[in-house]
Amino acid sequence: MNDVIIAARGLAKSYSRGSEQVHALKAVDLSINRGEFVSIVGPSGSGKSTLLHLLGLLETPSSGSISLEGRETAGLKERDLVKARRGSVGFVFQQFLLLPTLTVQENIELPLLFSRKPVEQDRIAGIMEMLELSHRARHLPHQLSGGEMQRVSIGRALVNEPRIIMADEPTGNLDTATSEKIYGLFKKLNNGGLSLIVVTHNMELAGRSDRMVRLRDGQILSN
């Protein structure tokens, strides 16, 4: 049990769409071990992203529980959820969501502003070097390629030194070669001991992870 970094029990999420009640996720049980690289796959609307967002404490489940690094998160106050997110999880989004007025370096440093941690220039430089972004440090997002923007987004996820990276369709907006490169980067981070949960449509890339979780209609088909 000590190896489990995040565990979901009976996790469900429902929401209203007009008069219709949508059950996006139905009583899902899932455990991810420390240092594991897990891909979540499934057709559109299967509940992949919803599962990822719940695991990352970005929204609250309708029922069920999540344990993050051994700590039960149900009933936590907003303040404690923020602390848990800051300390344990780094997020990567399909749309990158970089701030257009900030440079590459400033976008990477942004989470430090919120966690009130000092900016250690050597560490930031190290992250940019690992992501091959050093030469782009002072560029604005609109001057970057899609792959570069996603690497900035990964740098931003890494800056708070999380134990787990969660990526929602990180290659959804990228070409094949760039997607390969991003997955290669994930593999490198995983080899460094970081846990990864990646939601993807790309079965070929998903096949390179340690484990593939298949979802359909809000339920796990295979794990």
Binding site: R85, F93, Q95, L99, P111, L113, F114, V119
Partner: protein, 389 residues
Amino acid sequence: MNIFSLAAKNLMRRHVRTGLTVAGVAIAIAVLFSLLSFNAGYERQLGGELNSLGIHMLAVPKGCPYEAASLIIHGGVIPKYLSYSDLEQVQEIDGIEVASPMLLHQFFKDDKPHIVYGINIEEQKALKPWWKVEGRYFKDDETGVMIVGRSLADKENLKVGQVLDFGPDKVPTTIVGILERTGNQDDEFHFLPLGAAQRIFGKEGQLTTIAIRVKDLSNISDISKKLEQIPDIQVVTMTQVMGTIMNLVGSAQALLFSVIIIALFISAVGIINTLIMSVNERTREFGMMKAVGASGWDVSRLIVVETLIITLAGCAVGLLVALVGSKLVESFVRGVIPYSPGGELISIDPLLILVCIGFALAIGLLCSVYPAVKCARLTPMEAMRSDLE
């Protein structure tokens, strides 16, 4: 990078919109500051002007409203007169230091009104010891002589020694002196010996008013009562004149203040609208910020700081515009109020600057509360999925 530089960079993303919002706040603050400054300056100048008259009360013909007294002060003409027997009765009352008869007459030259005061010069000099003259004063029994105010001389290009054809019969009248600038309405008038003025304008034996200075101000009430026992006379004290003018000005000010309040309200609605639009457009960004570690308070703080930057920048621009444009505002205000004293009407008071800064801060905080609270309450995914309403 800190919260202020992040907020400033966000604002510069939409610099036209930010600029327009800042301009809206600036206009509101400029008008507010100008009006508050005017209010303070007006009362000070009016009080100063009435003091500088050197007169404690005016005896005017009975039935003459208080407004007549203010007309007299700045040269209006009333169609009723006192007699020399009234003057004698006034002079008999104990406690009066000076009782100086005056005749006022108004005539038009090139469609512009000109005011003539018929005065006894020695009494006027006693009432207005600060008077200084370029040239000389006339004597009370002289004819064909006058002195003029400095502003009038400048406007009409009048010089000492110049001869003007004066009155309906075009009586040649020599300017023997030009008053040094007094800063009050005297700068605009013609002054003639009382007897000469009465003859020129066909008002022999008639007086418009008697200017009175008392020996001891604490007796002013008793003296006023004694004066009112004279059948033809009504007394107006300078305090009453000031009150009457302030009442007249008060209604004009109430109108101006209403306009300001509406302007400020429109400005506040504009800021709220801009903020909500700005927050709506960036809801996903705020969601992202929460996902990477921002708390609801962090997001609220960012929104509040952005709003305060807008309102304080607007306040700074508005104050600058008001300070630079105070002359324009003064001439505008002079045009819309019933009576305005001479001198600087706009009083620049540091306290008023602080009031305006405080006001801008209050508007900023008020306007940012709704979007800040709304955004702070959303979960990261709600923010990334939805727009604020």
